[in-house]
Amino acid sequence: MGMTMVQKILAKAAGLPSVKVGDVVEPKVDLAMSHENGALVINQFKEIYQGTGLEAKVWDPSKIAIIFDHRVPAESSKTATNQKKIREFVAAQGITKFHDIRGDEGGICHQILPENGYVLPGMVVVGTDSHTTSHGALGAFSFGIGATEMASVWALGRVLNVEVPGTIKVVVNGTLPKGVEPKDIILHLIGRLTAEGANFKVIEFHGETIRRMPTSGRLVLCNMTVEAGATSGIVPPDRETVNYLRQEAGVKQIPQLFNPDPDAVYEQEIEIDASQLEPQIAFPHTVDNVKPVGQAKGIKIQQIVIGSCTNGRLDDLATAARILKGRKVARDVRMLVFPASWRIYHRALKAGYIDTLVKAGAVVMNPGCGPCLGVHQGALADGDKALATTNRNFKGRMGNPNAEVYLCSPATAAASAITGEITDPRTLIKKATPAGHVKRSTSNVKRPKAARKGRK
């Protein structure tokens, strides 16, 4: 019987010829990522070794990545002290894939990992962050785990007792209409599946729309699969993946690519006709509360957020800049922009996007998670409504349980910033390339030297 992408990856990582759904395996880990919650991982890791007489050494310091992004720069002395503890641990253990709060190499973990070539097709990647699902965009099996689970991975180099998940096949065909973006595909899918529709399952993406989509768009899709409960999303790697790895991530050795077997067994198949999609809005307070933008028309917004591990990439900023060029953010709206990494920030500066956005009245913040999780940088007032390109709208997100968060694409966010109410971007876009099919504007740009140094 044929195997899905994830079955093949797990079989390889467990040293088995094949695996079936429901088999229990202990896959070797190729990359283990943490951010500020590394402080808790360190605590649990040391506890494992307590009383054993053994030295607490991680299994392989070259396979651990730690990226500061959730609260950068530190919002409190407590965070600053946690970050300091992590720095000391990183130095003591010899961890090399460490990205501190720096303008030359910092950013959000789910952008830093791909852009530095840390993730390769076929890898098993775990991260103490639920949006670790993102890296399936490069053909890896990548999933979120808790801090204690990560401590166990640091000790053993494998994940214990993983049940091989079933897979949902999602086939997307057709050309996205102008003003409709990959974010709209995934919001639509989550609305169809519901918040628990893919719990304990993997979503494998297929179809011509996906084949033509740049890696940046695939990252958006995989990033949000967890909002349908999925263990991970995955895109079978192809020529686009190889181009991204070579040109963007500076990877010299591309591993052997593989696809799912033609006779792989899927638990469910879903087809999406991209050409029929409209811009989508996830209403508060669950991500599956999705409606076409028309049903949100006229809802007044006090804060717009463009950024996050979902939609803070260069093409997202380009879309926002294109819509806001020569226009102004509405007087009663605060517009906050968080590029996903400093590399993206530099490129957006060079391309003039930052200039356009600031002139329009946006506040461009430092790369990081920003207000998405509600710790700092843009908390909402009681009664505020925010429209954001982030991935969660749960009660209490953006720091206030008495506020509301709506989710959308960068195009919808930018269009709504101008009017001050939720607006269909198609009414404002005169001439634009559909965002799912933009020619990657980054391929000719050289990687900044500083970001390359000592990072492989």
Binding site: V24, E36, N37, A39, L40, N43, Q44, E47, I48, Y49, Q50, G51, T52, L54, H70, R71, E75, S76, K78, T79, N82, T128, D129, S130, G144, I145, G146, A147, T148, E149, A151, S152, A155, L156, L160, N161, V162, E163, A195, E196, N199, F200, G229, T231, T286, D288, L373, G374, V375, R392, F394, K395, G396, R397, G399, P401
Partner: protein, 164 residues
């Protein structure tokens, strides 16, 4: 036998259980103070020790969805709370097993705040309503971790065996 002290609906996210703004607090010894911090009344009852250890939270589908923050499990363990839900989100379920939070998967559960609940023989018994509901066992693959009392002692056993 213990009381239901909090009844919740579907899709209760870890942001509701442990709001993001307290995520800088990580140690299991410190997280309980922020359990359901945005539910001011319930949080106050916890802090005033008005809630007996062993009491139940009852929830609908997809309890613990969203962020992987382990604080959402450890903050409940700290108060000795147990959770009965129709089902749990994957990462929360695994975190809970790893840190020893007691939970029960009970797809048909019917209970209200104040009801007396007893768990025995693979069933949830609502003594107040006089009804019994079947439970679904936790994933078999994780049973060894549960038996060891959590993932820390389980991993400790493995590294000791590995280095002998």
């Amino acid at each position: 036998m213990a009381k239901v002290v909090l009844k919740l609906g579907d899709d209760i996210s870890t942001d509701i259980i442990y709001p993001g703004r307290y995520m800088a607090t990580v140690l299991p010894s410190e997280t309980p103070q922020f359990a359901f911090a945005d539910n001011v009344d319930f949080n106050k009852r916890l802090k005033n020790k008005e809630i007996e250890p062993g009491s139940f939270i009852v929830a609908g589908k997809n309890f613990g969805c969203g962020s992987s923050r382990e604080q959402a499990a450890s903050c409940l363990t700290g108060w000795g709370l147990k959770v009965i839900a129709k089902n749990f989100a994957r990462i929360f379920l695994q975190n809970s097993i790893n840190v020893g939070l007691q939970m029960v998967i009970c797809p048909q559960i019917e209970a209200d705040e104040g009801d007396e609940i007893e768990i025995s023989g693979g069933q949830v018994k609502n003594l107040t309503k006089g009804k019994e509901f079947d439970t679904i066992p936790l994933p078999q693959a994780r049973q060894a971790i549960i038996d060891a009392g959590g993932l820390i002692p389980y991993t400790r056993k493995l590294i000791l065996a590995q280095r002998k």
